[in-house]
Symmetry: C2
Subunit: 286 residues, 2 copies
Amino acid sequence: MFQNALAEAGAAVSDHLDDVLAPFEGELGAAMRYACGGGKRLRAFLVLESARLHGVARSPALDAAAAIEAVHAYSLVHDDMPCMDDDDLRRGLPTVHVKWDEAMAVLTGDALQAVAFELVTDADLPDMARLCLARGLARAGGGHGMVLGQVLDIAAETAATPLTLDQIKRLQALKTGALFEWSATAGAVMAGADPAPLARYAEAFGLAFQIADDILDVEGDEAQTGKRVGKDAAAGKATFVSLMGLDGARAEAQRLVDLACDALAPYGEAAGNLREAARFVISRQS
Amino acid sequence: MFQNALAEAGAAVSDHLDDVLAPFEGELGAAMRYACGGGKRLRAFLVLESARLHGVARSPALDAAAAIEAVHAYSLVHDDMPCMDDDDLRRGLPTVHVKWDEAMAVLTGDALQAVAFELVTDADLPDMARLCLARGLARAGGGHGMVLGQVLDIAAETAATPLTLDQIKRLQALKTGALFEWSATAGAVMAGADPAPLARYAEAFGLAFQIADDILDVEGDEAQTGKRVGKDAAAGKATFVSLMGLDGARAEAQRLVDLACDALAPYGEAAGNLREAARFVISRQS
């Protein structure tokens, strides 16, 4: 069952992050641990499932899962700052710059990025696997990946014309897709296997995930999603729904989920959890 | 001659950073290149000298030098932000958050940290050397090193009592010393040699460098240093000068420079530039 696997992955990676972050001292350590608390742990789940499919040992798999959650957490801490999305709450709790201050938010994010590289370079894996993880993380999380996606997203908010569908696809592939791909392929990379099927899965899955997010923004229940709905439409932002219509967006998300599931064919039944995960994201209510 | 070697290192690493950063697109790329412009390039010089002492090839040495300058640049972009040091000018030019905005400053720093890991993991070196560089950079630049030093420095500004001498030494060892040590030992790490002598050199050199900075803050010429002097004293901050007196600080800096030079004994005459560098920092006027 996907839901059980996700919950187990979440609990395991949370425990591991607690251990890894315990030695960081003072307020910085407290803020790093706080920033890494909670969340769906979807990226950690992808890493652990991908590792399981390739027979990777538990310890390095958890290191890689903790690393990607640290990168995800750093990006949220920085994105929540007043100069970016200006969010006071994250998962129902005050964001780092509210609970501490903006300086601590900048530095907490910086330290969490560094710890991710510490985790993958220290993992109990062959040298080449550790190098591939670290290099991949630098590319997926940096100025050719996630950070560029964030810059394009901010630029889109003040652009004279709304983004086209191709531009939104690219933005999302950078902002979210790059870390999804790193996560889903991590098991193959750790085992020295071909990451191509998992990369195809992650690409389709990541896009379906974003389309589902846009659909939820239009028709979601605020009480269930925990965020204000209609936020994007109110801001006049182009979304998959504004560009494809609600039915068109639903159909495209379904097409992408089928594509993601098909990409897992080489793994047969063993990839059941990953298939369920893809189907779940377009049926979720929050 | 140290001054020539420093100028050559600066020119070479600037050229290499231009090449490395050229593919980053749009405003993000422009801000990354802008943030990496100029500076003394002392860390790059340490890397290149250390590489030369160990017969490391030019190409990986330049990658490591560019990586440490990217980390240094990221830390300056973030430190200059209004929520930290709030500096509008850096090397006589508008800081990134002034020329662009605060969001771009956060993201530029984030991308520069990532690019440093890309550089060292991609360097033309044995796998173990690349891993050691990356792991060392994550530790020296992260929440056990530079970032922790910055947090302690900010906390000291609002603390009820000024820092003690031991506390200032620790703060500086983290904030500046950790990256100095990574730089000076990089050549040994790349060659798989013992980094201990260069680590001892860097520790003493880094501390002398900070003491010299405090002395310059008291008796420097604003026109030559390019920054307002007396800033620390006006802010009521404990400095090496406030704690040791001007003569005491000068004597301690000299003692540390001698210690740094002695640590280079295993390298004999070949380490002349590194010795000159240590002597230079306590005689510099800017």
